[in-house]
Symmetry: C2
Subunit: 363 residues, 2 copies
Amino acid sequence: MARFYAVIPAGGIGSRLWPLSRASAPKFLHDLTGSGQTLLQDTVERLRPLSNSDRILIVTGDAHEAAVLNQVAGLSAKNLVLEPSPKDSTAAIALAAAILLKNEPDVIIGSFAADHVITDPEEFHQNVREAVEVAAKGKIVTIGIEPTEPSVGFGYIKTADLIPGSKNARDVEQFIEKPELKKAKRYLRSGKYLWNAGMFIAPAQLLLDVLAQTEPELYSKVVQLAEAWGTKNQQEVFESVWPTLKKIAIDYSVAEPAAEQGLVAVIPAKFGWHDVGDFAAIAQLQADGKPHHLAVLGDVKVISDKSSGILVSETGKLVALIGLEDVIVVDTPDALLVTSKEHAQRVKNLVDSLKNTGHSDVL
Amino acid sequence: MARFYAVIPAGGIGSRLWPLSRASAPKFLHDLTGSGQTLLQDTVERLRPLSNSDRILIVTGDAHEAAVLNQVAGLSAKNLVLEPSPKDSTAAIALAAAILLKNEPDVIIGSFAADHVITDPEEFHQNVREAVEVAAKGKIVTIGIEPTEPSVGFGYIKTADLIPGSKNARDVEQFIEKPELKKAKRYLRSGKYLWNAGMFIAPAQLLLDVLAQTEPELYSKVVQLAEAWGTKNQQEVFESVWPTLKKIAIDYSVAEPAAEQGLVAVIPAKFGWHDVGDFAAIAQLQADGKPHHLAVLGDVKVISDKSSGILVSETGKLVALIGLEDVIVVDTPDALLVTSKEHAQRVKNLVDSLKNTGHSDVL
């Protein structure tokens, strides 16, 4: 574990969580579990027993520098890589890898999203420790989630045989993009598929070697940025190179091609995992199996008469709900969303249409 | 028509229109039609061609004095009777009648709620003119509404024969309280029943004579208050007598007993009438028969994706609605209501429960 370094790409806005989540205050800066901590705070706290504050690197937009440092006690500017603009996960993770490699040629990075919910942190730690062991043997290791339903919202990982000498790690045959429902049902039944939760544990050098093959231009630009990092040329190089980076998810640039080369292993997660991707998911997480539950996030007085679903309030004003099953109400100072769990995914389309109609001020 | 004096009891809060309608800003002070005028403004404007500003008396709570004078141009304090506390419609109308009688023994008053919507004002004027003619012959005349559905939310008027020599006026056999659905359906089929819209046109003296028989104590207190009105004793008498007045609707104290004595006539309304009693009624009025219509009251930007019903906003914040049929959303600075047209009537229960749980600050 001495080689381990935690990388937290904190990038996605979480459009499906509008109007709570905004460009100026993305999903990871919010408390979506009612725990009293934001998702980012939870994520850092979960990683500290594995890597302590010295070995945590958060890659986020430069607009969020103050908010991130403000939320996470014990971190400083040297724990941050600030992106001038969003360039998807390959740029974020590869740059972190390249920067860390400068000082530690054998560093093993573990990349974990800033905006997921994980229950059972002890199990998470065990899984990551095993992943680091496997990674040390020259693998890119992911932690896959046992599907609980035929979700069409996640990518899947097709598992192969147990790796000899390994407790839980299996070879990965293939990464599969978000499937249609019919396929998702088949995956669930077969028992061979796991959800891709975007957790990657790998030697930084191996990760960059794969990238050098699959996206040589992006690779060389990332290396150029990493070389300038911390030098007097940093600002100049970032200003000229960063805007030209290709936007591509690490699943496509590294994970899939590496899997084809037999370089990827997966460890089935023993912990509870939720991507809290939309308000329906948060409502479900909060309800914890209780039927007709009304989840409330925020310091707000609610009068509910035969209503269930979720209320999120940033305004503190009294909210009265009557006769609404599975409703979603999100009240913020400048925008109010009312929908139902059934339509929670369509919030993203709405955000797109706000963008296209010149309402970026509320995005 | 020279004998005619318009009386506007402006009393009811309109609990089913919470959180828009409040004790401090009742229903009649709001624009519920999107016309740009409040219901009170519409009511006064509708009556001016019949009685001009000199002969309009508004009976309202003393808390609303400034708002009423501010809304209605051309009226002054002498157009107002201010109630120290709400005492239902008999006290309001009988006091107005008794005050007017002091100067005009043959005055005919027409009492019209401040918070109803009437389309076709020309037809309304014709109906009232005929009512005044019939009233002059010693009748209490009401204008009844042709039922369009078997409503259980209104009282009914059972009509009898056409009054000889009259164009449209019929004797009233009976006033009937809000019926159950089965009865309401029978009333609708029979064609003999009209809705009671609480419009009464009668010689003030006749109205008080009936009250003297049915509620002698209330009658004598009202006369005592009217005698003190405009004198130096007014404040003292109001302070001692007003709190002791019996709360009773004029339907029970005057209309029903007078009908039993054959003193009541009804003219079927030729105009469109709506009591806009709850948000479902307002939505229906706004939709005007258009299916899947989303009505919007207030200066607000709305993004609607497959939603219908009504949005009322006093905050101006952006509102996004997704996939909600017949929704009711009412956003005010300190309270937000979300329900559906189906449950619009239950808003009243909610207001009761707010009252009982110490939330009068938002009522």
